[in-house]
Symmetry: C2
């Protein structure tokens, strides 16, 4: 029966219910610290972080103001940056010092990074001198977003001459090791890592065997100044679980593990989403003013291309004066082209990012998108032609929109892939600059084909 | 000096040079298998996979046709799905059987999944009966994209009564264990997992200690039928390295490790990118016809909204007949609103996905986006007003576009956030359905504000 109970308590996902939140808020209101602590102690730290995030701001502060409120320091680490900063600003520097002292080095670094300048100074004077020096050295030597900023300084390493038995004895006796580790590094007399052995491999090997006999020497060592996105690429490409970090002298100074970089990998995939929409990376804490500034350039470029499209229209103002229906219908063709182009563009950008679209298949895929554009053109020529005939009872307008639709959607498919592929060839990020080119092309061709054909027909 | 050499050979990223490719193609042309094998043997399997992907199709087939070409089976696993299928179709079923037999269970499953029906049958009759039964059972019991399809069947597990010493002895003596493992599962007499111990923890514990004393009981067990995206969410949320997979009877049947789900996490973040552009998940192997079909619905919806916008224009056809410049300028306001709305929408969709935008801060963020929209409106009212004055030398047109711009960009910011937040509240994926609402709103308001104001001015 006991086992059954354990199974049932195995949750795979925790969903914060309103009942749970109300219960917690109730206990906060009553300043019933003991019960608050008990309630939260049953949850995983990640879930506590989510509960804290979901509290109304006022209650969140009341919670942290409670005397004897007992929070696992790792909950603070799990909070989103913005929330973390708010809470760190709220609590005393003495409390922050206790939190920092109890964390592993990578998490401690993250907390100190997120302190205001004044609090940072206060905290740095109160933590052990050795930790202070390491933190200050990291801040001054390695840039933000470098491997050194996300690595942990705790790792297990033994000299290359040791046996498995010596290693096991050392591991049993030494306190200053990370809680869990996937591998143990082997270093030579110059403190340079020459290989590593998985913990499970050591477990399975006889005590007499030398570590150097079972080590894997083909190690991926991460230079401390490497950008974290590059680190993520290596983890992904080579299916790494953990990797050592080395300084300029090739000395081992830290370790990065897979769970540290899951977030980095996710952020990287997100970047394309933002870039395609013409947004640079925004934080939820950015002010309205700074967001306006960040979005300004893209909107300015869009204004220029919209004006360009308008000059195309103005070339046909005589036709529009004769048949005002042209003005009514002309946005339809441009809009359809814009959407079809964006679809092709988005797919192409991701195919380039995942390296699925390469020089050996680029011709094939371009032909395919051209064909898709043409198919779309045919289909929507028919549909829009029929719709316009029902609306205006004019077969010429109907034919006009149909032909313009075929032209513009084919153009959209073709340029929707050609532009990002071309930019990529010139080492320009296709996500950030393709949209503007593609929509300009589809707008200009949309108006040009529709109004151009119309004026041609009107003139004969 | 020897160590120095080792350090230099430590590469962090392999970049395929054209020289390397040409060299390889040369060797393929000369049918010099020994040198081809030697050249590729120096590379990491992930890099070999990349080299193979970058070969022209013809050379790729020639490579696999070479007699005695020696490829690590894991290279086939690393290939993108489409390429993998192509190559599996090309090589004999005997060769596939050898590949499948040498792989770990999760990779073997992936290969068999990607075979054509005919090849699959051939291969299944030739592999050991036990493996065949397991594969067929997995295919019939667990859906595609379930945890069972990505787990490996090899794992290490010991009874809960055992000591550390017994465990180490068992691990040393047993052959059928995964190559490396981060943790060892503890199971009770019913074969139900009750906890796990990290390999490094075992290394650091005395032989006499009982496994049940050092195990972590709060385990995240993954039901075999759970969707892999949900599995990824759990790995990310709880920073897991590995997790056991259980069947309906809570029996441990496999293990999923962090490197298996990095791809899943990445795909999930990508999904929003596609959905925002109105594209469902496409594979590079999809035919032009099937792509056209997949993109059809979104384009149809766009056609309807474009026609809706046209009916707004048609309401003002008399004004356009009087002043044709209105037709020339009206797309500018709509286009700027559309872009500003898409920016806000994209940011909002990601904030919702990452659970940063929650009920406690939603009012604050909506007000902020409203303000950003208004700021943008003011800025681009000024810029576009000035540009139009230079073009048309008409202060009334200038004022007209300025006022319309303020209205439409404020509307864009407001609805850009309100619509995804609203959809999310009703449990509708905001990424998939927001775009159409937002651009419809900005088109309609764009034409309405510009032409409405114009006809009002013309009438007085």
């Amino acid at each position: 029966m006991e086992n059954n109970k354990q199974i049932k308590s195995t949750k795979v996902e925790f969903n914060i219910s309103n009942i749970f939140l109300e219960d917690l808020i109730n206990k906060i209101d009553n300043k019933n610290v003991a019960e608050v602590n008990l309630l939260l102690s049953k949850l995983h730290i990640s879930d506590v972080a989510e509960v804290v995030s979901n509290l109304p701001e006022k209650k969140r502060f009341e919670l942290f103001d409670l005397e004897n409120f007992n929070i696992n320091p790792n909950v603070i680490v799990e909070l989103k940056n913005e929330l973390q900063k708010e809470i760190l600003e709220r609590i005393t520097s003495d409390r922050i010092v206790r939190i920092v002292n109890s964390l592993e080095s990578d998490n401690a670094l993250q907390i100190v990074e997120n302190l205001s300048e004044q609090k940072k100074e206060e905290v740095l004077t109160k933590i052990p001198l050795e930790d202070k020096n390491i933190l200050e050295q990291t801040f001054s030597t390695y840039p933000e977003d470098s491997a050194a900023r996300i690595m942990q300084r705790e790792f297990a390493a033994v000299p290359q001459g040791w046996t498995v038995g010596q290693t096991i004895d050392y591991l049993r006796e030494t306190q200053e090791l990370p809680k869990d580790f996937f591998e143990i590094f082997i270093i030579n007399q110059l403190n340079v890592p020459v290989g590593s052995v998985a913990s499970s491999r050591i477990l399975r090997t006889e005590r007499e065997v030398k570590m150097s006999e079972i080590m894997k020497s083909n190690k991926f060592l991460i230079p401390a100044e490497m950008d974290k996105e590059q680190v993520a690429y290596n983890f992904e490409q080579y299916s790494l679980f953990s990797a050592g970090v080395v300084d300029k002298n090739n000395h081992l100074i830290g370790m990065i593990t897979g769970d540290d970089i899951v977030t980095v990998i996710k952020e990287e995939a997100e970047e394309d989403t933002f870039r395609l929409a013409g947004v640079s990376v925004e934080k939820i804490s950015d002010s309205a003013f700074s967001i306006t500034k960040k979005r300004f350039i893209w909107l300015t470029i869009n204004l220029l291309t919209a004006i360009l499209a308008s000059t195309v229209i103005s070339a046909f103002n005589e036709s529009i004066e004769k048949v005002v229906a042209l003005a009514i219908l002309m946005p339809i063709v441009a809009s359809m082209g814009g959407n079809a182009g964006t679809q092709t563009l988005t797919v192409t950008v991701r195919l380039l990012a995942t390296k699925e679209l390469v020089s050996s298949n680029v011709r094939k895929i371009i032909s395919k998108e051209f064909l898709v554009g043409f198919f779309n053109g045919l289909i929507f020529a028919f549909i829009s032609g029929a719709a316009i005939f029902i609306w205006f009872q004019d077969i010429r307008l109907s034919a006009l929109i149909a032909v313009a639709m075929i032209i513009n959607m084919t153009v959209a498919g073709f340029f929707g892939i050609l532009i990002p592929v071309g930019l990529n060839k010139f080492k320009i990020d296709p996500a950030i600059s393709s949209s503007v080119f593609v929509t300009t092309v589809t707008d200009v061709f949309g108006f040009l084909s529709f109004l151009g054909l119309a004026s041609y027909i009107l003139n004969i």
